[in-house]
């Protein structure tokens, strides 16, 4: 059996939907093809998609459907001879629109060309459209942000939305003379989002074969850790434990390969001890990789801090000032900063009292207020980040949302799917220090819930 290629899938998308395929769609149908589906079966399945049945041919007759196919493929309506031929073809037996599409795009084109007056002009338009669609999908696949944006506005009920309409408009402009360039694609993509393409396509973090080993220096647990490393205890969490000559190491992260583009919103998913926090500390520079190459072109700000820079004998004002000086290296704008902290934290006059007189909740309020008061290009946030009592929590949520939205790139480690869905588009699943899945958030969460974690147990 001949497996279906991405070019053929692209042709099916052009024929049915008049737009370039999305990378996820291509991958999905390629996977189907690997599992045994042939072109005909894929074409039939596509003809049953809501996008086709509810948007393209909704309650319309066969003439319209054939006309639409010709418009999508060749940029013109079907001629009289052609229409007559296809109508009689459908009347002959158990044929439907998918058979016409398969005949038109495949394959048997030489015969059809002779029978249906399909000119070299038409073939040129078709080739130009296939080229344009491939270029569009390739450019789109460079960033998960674009992949995520290029989808319908609503699936149930089906609404095409501006992203897919931009794809249709892009392809409809490709004709006989028009050979699409990458600039044309970028211009078309810019209609989907106001975000400049150059910004999204700039990698901010690139890691190749990164591993992180955490050495255990405590001598009093040598006996215990050596027992663990000999496999006495079965475990489902944490990196691999190894006993070297005279020390124990935890392989916190292993063989990570990853590229994150500017502006991406990445959710880190995984069990406790799967490597999420180690990953956050690695990209923010707290940990250095044991091996591999790590390129970070953005200042990653870790929201992991749980203590102040100054002594607790000193006041909240002094703690805030120290933090401000560290971030800004000067006191310009400090008045606004401190006023915002006083107002938001609700500490009032307590801000002038020594921190040691604060309750834990007050400390959490102050830390949260301080850390969220300055914008950062890239944030690395761990779920354990406290926000004080329930009354403060609601206000903190709003501020957090504003704060996260103001950041360019985001890494968020959490077990709360609601939180992840609120802020992230890409999901990375960790298990025992490995990245076991990297893709769209929905797919990552689905993978996380269905993945057999015992596979990785050492």
């Amino acid at each position: 059996m001949i497996s279906v290629g991405s070019k053929q899938i692209q042709q099916l998308y052009i024929a049915y939907f008049g737009r370039p395929a999305d990378p996820n769609g291509i991958n999905y149908w390629l996977a189907k093809s690997k599992n045994g589906s042939n072109l005909k079966e894929i074409a039939i399945e596509l003809s049953r998609q809501d996008e086709y049945t509810k948007f393209i041919i909704f309650n319309r007759d066969t003439d319209y459907q054939i006309n639409q196919l010709y418009l999508n493929l060749f940029g013109r309506k079907v001629d009289f001879e052609g229409l007559k031929y296809w109508l009689s073809f459908l009347e002959k037996g158990n044929y439907n629109i998918s058979d016409i599409i398969c005949a038109l795009i495949s394959f048997d084109l030489e015969n059809i060309v002779n029978k249906l007056n399909i000119s070299s002009y038409d073939l040129k338009v078709l080739n130009n459209r296939i080229h344009a669609a491939q270029l569009f999908t390739e450019e789109l696949s460079l960033s998960l942000i674009w992949v995520d944006l290029y989808r319908p506005e609503s699936v149930e009920p089906w609404k095409e939305g501006k992203a897919l309409l931009a794809g249709i408009e892009f392809l409809s402009q490709v004709n006989f003379q028009n050979r699409v360039t990458i600039e044309n694609v970028k211009m078309s993509l810019s209609k989907i989002s106001s975000m400049p393409i150059e910004v999204v396509h700039k990698p901010v973090i690139e890691m190749r074969n990164i591993s992180l080993n955490i050495p255990i220096y405590h001598s009093d647990n040598k006996n215990f850790t050596s027992k663990i490393t000999k496999g006495m205890f079965k475990r489902v969490t944490g990196g691999k434990l190894r006993n070297l000559n005279r020390s124990t190491i935890i392989e916190a992260l292993s063989n990570l390969n990853l590229t994150v583009m500017n502006g991406e919103r990445v959710a880190l998913v995984g069990h406790n001890g799967s490597g999420k926090t180690s990953f956050l500390k690695l990209i923010s520079g707290i940990y250095k990789p044991t091996q591999g190459s790590l390129k970070v072109d953005v200042n990653v700000y870790p929201m992991l801090q749980k203590s102040f820079l100054t002594s607790t004998e000193l006041s909240g004002l002094e703690a805030a000032k120290a933090h401000y000086l560290l971030m800004k290296n000067c006191l310009d704008g400090y008045e606004v900063f401190i006023q915002d902290i006083i107002n938001f934290s609700g500490l009032g006059n307590y801000i002038s009292l020594p921190i040691k007189t604060y309750s834990e909740g007050m400390c959490a309020r102050l830390i949260f207020s301080i850390l969220t008061s300055i914008k950062h290009d890239c944030l690395a946030i761990d779920e354990g980040f406290g926000t004080g009592d329930a009354a403060f929590f609601e206000r903190a949520e709003q501020r957090m949302q504003k704060f996260i939205n103001s950041a360019g790139t985001l890494f968020l480690a959490s077990h709360s799917e609601q939180l992840l869905r609120q802020f992230c588009t890409r999901g990375i699943v960790f298990s025992q220090g490995f990245i076991v899945f990297d893709g769209t958030l929905d797919a990552a969460l689905n993978y996380y819930h269905t993945y057999d974690y015992s596979q990785l147990c050492f």
């Binding site: 955490i214 050495p215 255990i216 220096y217 500390k281 923010s284 520079g285 707290i286 940990y287 250095k288 990653v300 700000y301 870790p302 992991l304 801090q305 749980k306 203590s307 820079l309 100054t310 002594s311 004998e313 000193l314 002094e318 000032k321 120290a322 000086l325 560290l326 290296n329 000067c330 006191l331 020594p354």
Partner: protein
């Protein structure tokens, strides 16, 4: 590496200087006299030790002995305090080291600034009192002591940093530091004159801490500066500084796991 560190130190100077000042404030937060205690406590020790050891050693010129002891003791206290605090520098900042992506150099600079601030605050009061005993010390300090003072200030940074880095990795050594400091204090001519060591005066040639302290003391008390020796120590200091920067770079990667 050296330039990168200097650049970082300059860029963040206001932050580490401020946190160092805050530490001094925190230290005396509940006292009435505040940081005035720094000088006052030194003056009390100088007065007590001066009277006791002046009597024990049967010193004839008590005035010059007080100046000798006062300057020596205040310099020693700064060196001793810097070294004895150093093994625990990173562990005191462990939470921030594990959760902030702040260069470890920041903590060392803050500690250095704290020690320098402490030194000058105590030195000013002691110096003010000593200048009543001999006015020339003020002129000597202004005109003669720049290079020895520079050596002293650089030494206060790199040597404790080196001790700190060694002790954070080999924690048993941290237990030895106070004992060694006590021994160095006793074999260094601070309470007594170098001549009192007699045949054992060669010991001072191998006492590097004394080699930093003595030229500065001499320049303040007598206005003498042996420039050849001072520049040689400056060279050693620069090598020490470079080495400790390099060592910090190496050990810095492991710091979050060590503290």
């Amino acid at each position: 590496m050296f330039l990168k560190n200097i650049k970082f130190a300059y860029k963040t100077r206001r932050a580490w200087f401020y946190t160092a000042t805050s530490r001094t404030k925190a230290r005396f937060a509940r006292t009435t006299l505040g940081s005035f205690w720094l000088g006052l406590s030194n003056l009390l020790s100088i007065a007590t030790l001066g009277l006791v050891y002046g009597t024990v050693f049967k010193v004839e010129d008590l005035k010059s002995y007080f100046i000798y002891l006062g300057v020596g003791l205040i310099l020693w206290n700064s060196i001793s305090s810097s070294i004895s605090n150093s093994p625990y520098l990173f562990s005191h900042n462990s939470s921030n080291i594990r959760n902030m992506n702040l260069n470890a150099l920041f903590y060392t600079l803050e500690e250095w600034a704290f020690q320098i601030q402490t030194f000058f605050q105590s030195f000013i009061l002691v110096f003010f009192v000593l200048s009543f005993l001999d006015r020339s010390v003020l002129l000597n300090f202004i005109f003669a002591s720049w290079i020895p003072l520079l050596n002293f200030v650089i030494f206060l940074y790199w040597f404790p940093l080196l001790i700190c880095l060694i002790c954070v990795r080999f924690t048993d050594l941290a237990q030895l530091v106070p004992i060694l400091l006590q021994l160095v204090f006793l074999i260094s001519p601070i309470l007594y004159r170098k001549e009192s060591l007699g045949n054992l005066s060669w010991i001072t040639n191998f006492n590097f801490i004394f080699k930093i302290l003595d030229p500065l003391r001499l320049s303040i008390i007598n206005g003498y500066v042996f420039y050849g020796n001072a520049f040689f120590i400056l060279l050693i200091n620069i090598i020490g500084l470079l080495f400790s920067f390099w060592y910090l770079e190496q050990e810095g990667k492991k710091l979050p796991f060590l503290v």
